[in-house]
Subunit: 115 residues, 2 copies
């Protein structure tokens, strides 16, 4: 098991010390993703005028939306993968039948030639 | 294009009117996901004692973590799908060669029988 990491990350101009089993590169990536959302939002006048709890909720909703979009992509890809696995199974099955047919024919030819 | 939806959702005990192109079912699902995180956190003493901006950041980090986990699942699945597509391509190629071989043999047999 990997050991616990402590990492200082800067989110919205404040330093947070995160502790967990994720590596520092990952934690910085997550922090930087949140900061880019914050920057994006702060360019909007309507956002800047909101009380801070609404600002946070808006950000949470936005991140959660990214999460649900990625999750639905996962579901779609899993379905695609299942379909491909089925196709591979069928193709392999067809290959085996063809190989058997081919061997049978080759044997028949061999027998005829031996006669 | 679908029309804009207005939906009232309850997040952390407050009502928010969300407006967007997502349907209401989706917006309620996202709100309910955030609420379940909030409930989970509020059971922790250390969380309850945090100032509200730190509470929000913790929640944002947690949701962003879910997002990055799903995103890395997407990347993994896309790689798997690419590998499957390559396998299907190879199997189809092999099938075609076998079919050609089989036809050639069948033609040869036919010719011999005709002689």
């Amino acid at each position: 098991m990997s050991s616990k990491t402590n990492a200082d990350v800067l989110i919205g101009g404040k330093i947070y010390t995160l502790s967990g089993y994720e590596n520092e590169v990952y934690l910085q990536k997550v922090a930087s993703y949140i900061n880019s959302k914050l920057n994006e939002f702060s360019e909007m006048d309507t956002y800047r005028r909101l009380p801070s709890d609404m600002k946070s909720t808006l950000l949470e909703l936005n991140i959660a939306d990214d999460y649900f979009k990625a999750k639905s992509q996962v579901e779609k890809l899993e379905e695609d993968l299942d379909a491909r696995n089925k196709e591979i199974y069928d193709l392999k099955h067809e290959l085996i039948s063809l190989r058997v047919k081919l061997e049978t024919l080759e044997d028949a030819i061999q027998k005829k030639e031996n006669q």
